[in-house]
């Protein structure tokens, strides 16, 4: 048996690493990936709580989070493709103007 707190600490570590990646990385696609990493960390906490309390609703929330992540990826990557086409760069610092 693994104590729930272990899962929560792992979830916190992964979330923290996601935040670090979000701040550190310059490539807009990688920044987007670090958001996915944070979402995954949250999912882990959801599942751990759901199993600890023997209720399924945490796992249902995970499914919702995954759906939202999928929708977000579809739209977000569409936007990334457009900006990359317009600016010829994926570096977020090159995308600092609202108009070209």
């Amino acid at each position: 048996m693994v104590p729930t707190s272990y899962y929560l600490i792992l979830s916190a570590v992964l979330f923290g690493l996601g935040v670090v990646a979000f701040v550190f990385k310059r490539n807009v696609i990688t920044i987007f990936m670090s958001i996915e990493l944070m979402l995954n960390a949250v999912n882990l906490a959801f599942v751990a709580f759901s199993q600890a309390r023997h209720q399924s609703d945490g796992q249902v929330f995970v499914l919702f989070v995954i759906v939202v992540a999928a929708a977000e990826a579809a739209v977000g990557l569409g936007i990334i493709i457009l900006t990359a086409r317009n600016r010829q760069s994926l570096n977020v610092e090159r995308v600092d103007l609202l108009k070209l």
């Binding site: 935040v19 996915e36 599942v47 579809a74 739209v75």
Partner: protein, 167 residues
Amino acid sequence: MTPQLAIFFVLAAIAVIGALSLILQRHPIHSALSLIVVMIALAGLYLLMGSEFVAAVQIIVYGGAIMVLFVFVIMLLNAGVEERTNVSKLAGIAGIPLAVALLGFLAAAIARSNETAQAGFQSGGLANTKDISTMLFKDFVYPFELTSFLILVAILGAIVLAQRENS
């Protein structure tokens, strides 16, 4: 140490190393691969907890659809090695203390809470899947319908974005 604890530590280590590698790799494809490793390790952890359905969905949707989309876009845009600029150092100076503080707060909060419940195997995976489906289609049926609408909107948004203007 029970085998379950050993498996937990192995998978946790894989997940953390994958997340670190996501940060340290400079090529987006390598970062994407690291993230896939994290996701598979998390799916393993879900299996360890006895949530087989979520584990399968994690790999199918995250690993098989979302990350494929990322890899696909990286290939399509032919993204090269990441540039390092001055501002990113500044972000590092601000980011590391922030992340460490966040981690510290979270760990302290978790350690202080007297959560003694254990995440363990529930008997029977099918019952687990059945529980989830009953809950999803009874208690959460309106949010569920709402997500379908969300996906529809996302598809439309992606199509509108991907369309070339002059056509």
